[in-house]
């Protein structure tokens, strides 16, 4: 197996762990942790593809840098939303926050 395939498989493991967690976790903070795992897998995949192929390496590294920036922005907003939900519902369990459930 070429090194690129190995790196892509590690990124795939990160994506799958995040996907499993986000469907199975019962609190909003746990889901946020799993989203970060998935974003990290995406970043690793992009950098590996850019560094190990003749593709534009600068574009790959800067793209991952932008993914990190977006992850930071997303974590900030999710923190604020979690604080609002905790204040309004008294809990951040997804089973409690289900007003719109039919």
């Amino acid at each position: 197996m070429s090194p690129l395939v190995l790196y892509q498989l590690v990124a795939l493991i990160l994506l799958l762990a995040g996907l499993f967690g986000i469907t199975q976790r019962k609190t909003l903070v746990g889901m946020l942790i799993c989203v970060e795992l998935m974003l990290n897998g995406a970043g690793l995949s992009i950098v590996a593809a850019a560094q190990l192929t003749p593709a534009n390496a600068v574009l790959g590294q800067l793209g991952t840098l932008f993914v990190m920036g977006l992850a930071a922005a997303e974590a900030t907003l999710v923190l604020a939303i979690i604080v609002v939900i905790a204040r309004r519902f008294g809990s951040t369990k997804t089973s409690v926050v289900s007003t719109l459930k039919g």
Binding site: S2, P3, L4, V5, L6, L9, V10, L12, I13, L14, L15, A17, G18, L19, F20, G21, T23, Q24, K26, T27, V29, G30, L32, I33, C34, E36, L37, N40, G43, L44, V47, Q51, L52, T53, P54, A57, V58, Q61, L62, L65, M68, G69, L70, A71, A72, A73, E74, A75, T76, L77, V78, L79, A80, I81, I82, V84, A86, G90, S91, K93
Partner: protein, 169 residues
């Protein structure tokens, strides 16, 4: 040197695997966050192996330094239950559906990765920080400006959302 790289790759892969399992399965959210930090450090090591030390540094600075502290704030600001936030186990149906999602996605993507090998150069190319800076100021300047706008808006939005109104309304 080639063997050293393989050994280091194996160690980092083990760290990532163990960390992500802990992050997904820990009953206490603080332990899940510790697993996330281990995973992030493992990915930073993989960036070092890919000859992109700047990305490894940024990974540690942004993720471990900023995002994990934010997650820790989120854990501490919400009410923590005594026996761990995820103590009551998920219903069997939910676990089965999560496993189904993982199996379908994993088999499709894994099949694609394994059956369509790309031509690789073998050795990671070296990109100097100077080139990255010139890229940020030159061809990718618009994206650079846009991400600062996104960060500003998200910061302002977070302050607005979490604002505690003093006089009732």
């Amino acid at each position: 040197m080639e063997d050293m790289a393989k050994i280091a790759f194996g160690i980092y892969a083990l760290i990532i695997l163990g960390g992500s399992v802990l992050a997904v399965s820990a009953k206490s959210l603080v332990r899940a966050m510790v697993g996330l930090i281990a995973t992030l450090l493992g990915v930073a090591g993989m960036y070092m192996l890919l000859n992109s030390a700047f990305m490894a540094l940024m990974q540690i600075l942004i993720y471990v330094g900023a995002v994990c502290v934010l997650i820790f704030f989120a854990i501490m600001l919400t009410r923590a239950d005594a026996g761990g936030e995820e103590a009551d186990s998920a219903p069997v149906r939910q676990n089965a559906l999560a496993l189904l999602a993982v199996l379908v996605t994993g088999s499709v993507l894994g099949w694609l990765v394994l059956t369509r090998p790309q031509a690789t150069t073998g050795v990671p190319v070296e990109v100097s920080i100077e080139k990255l800076g010139l890229g940020l100021l030159g061809p990718y300047g618009l994206a650079f400006e846009l991400i600062s706008v996104v960060l500003l808006v998200s910061m302002a939005g977070a302050v607005l959302l979490a604002w505690e109104r003093r006089n009732g309304k």
